[in-house]
Subunit: 221 residues, 2 copies
């Protein structure tokens, strides 16, 4: 009766062990790492592009892109100045620590200060798999609607920062920011949030300041 | 070595058997059924509301809503005139045939012409699980971006109709419709598409005409 549960637990615990190894590797290399998670089309790749455009001249940045298919996202990250590797999950709906380890083996980490891992676009499954990254960032977006924290609590509960993207669309879609924020606050009290627009650039400064602050805090540890 | 593969195959084949039973039950009850799939926030619930507002006075409509948590969507469907049942998947990232069977057991199907099943918001996992419904409908949305067919091919390949929602946002976001449609055409040649806006109502007539046509075609079989 419990066979299925047991197998899943074993997979997760193997994954957590590998995630701890990934973290060790990143710590030893002095790299701060972020796990970007979001619905499809919320703006993960655009936020990576904006971040690279702003700070890739001062810092070494690597990007590992997870997708079901194509290398479109890694191509965009490489064009914006990152050392980029694509993981094609071949149908899997999330990244796991094994996939990240394989990708880390394929990338030259010398001189890298920041690693951004772009997870598969999915508001459910990636929340269950630790990768070993230092902080998890959820990118929500205005046109997704203000009810998402209530309907996808697992994802909102587990993250360290929340980007609220596409605020330039607020005049055109129904979105009650107070209702949205109340849902977030219940699940993840005091969560750091960054309302911004990758399209217009509004609000990006706070986000960039947080990223740089986190990189420096890790350096001084 | 092959244990994991075998277990997954067994689960899928059990699911397919139950899906066939669901189909038989729906056919015997004379009900046409749709499986709505989409990213979180693409507009599945809004399309259900619009459909109900337009035809619930002529036809009996039932809605089964799948979500990780809450009954927000079923509440909206019930308010718009449907017989509605909520499935809370408790963390599962998709509906399967067992969940649909349980929901069908809880709903009075007498006098129902159309059943709409709203799957969990997810552009990956629901594509792998047959439910037994007659047609699958993918709801894409303009702010998700024009690259989604390329990045989530499994979902685009398997559906019978594609709604392109939020066309009212086309002036405000970068979206190349030719690029989007080329990706769709490669994966699913000749796929029926319905560009529309649930927000403004533009384009809804073609969608409604198709739904009514499919219900009548099934009645005359």
């Amino acid at each position: 009766m419990n066979q299925r549960v047991t197998i899943v637990e074993n997979i997760l615990s193997a994954n957590d062990r590998l995630a701890a190894q990934n973290r060790l590797l990143l710590d030893q290399a002095g790299i701060f790492s972020l796990n970007f998670m979001a619905s499809p089309g919320a703006g993960k790749t655009s936020l990576i592009e904006r971040t690279l455009q702003a700070i890739a001249d001062q810092l070494g940045i690597a990007v590992i892109d997870g997708d079901i298919a194509t290398s479109l996202d890694a191509d965009r990250a490489a064009a914006a100045g990152a050392r980029a590797v694509q993981i094609n999950t071949g149908g899997e709906c999330h990244l796991d620590a094994v996939m990240l380890k394989d990708a880390l083996d394929r990338i030259d980490l010398e001189g890298i200060d920041l690693l951004i891992v772009e997870n598969v676009g999915n508001l459910v499954c990636p929340a269950s798999f630790q990768l070993g990254t230092h902080k998890s960032v959820l990118i929500a977006s205005i046109p997704e609607g203000d009810d998402k924290p209530y309907k996808y609590p697992g994802m909102y509960r587990g993250v360290d920062a929340l980007v609220i993207n596409k605020i330039d669309l607020l005049p055109y879609v129904p979105f009650n920011m107070d209702y949205f924020r109340s849902g977030v606050e219940v699940l993840n009290p005091g969560l750091k949030t960054f309302p911004l627009s990758c399209h217009t650039g509004e609000g990006l400064q706070s986000w960039l300041a947080w990223v740089i602050h986190e990189i420096e805090a890790r350096r001084n540890q």
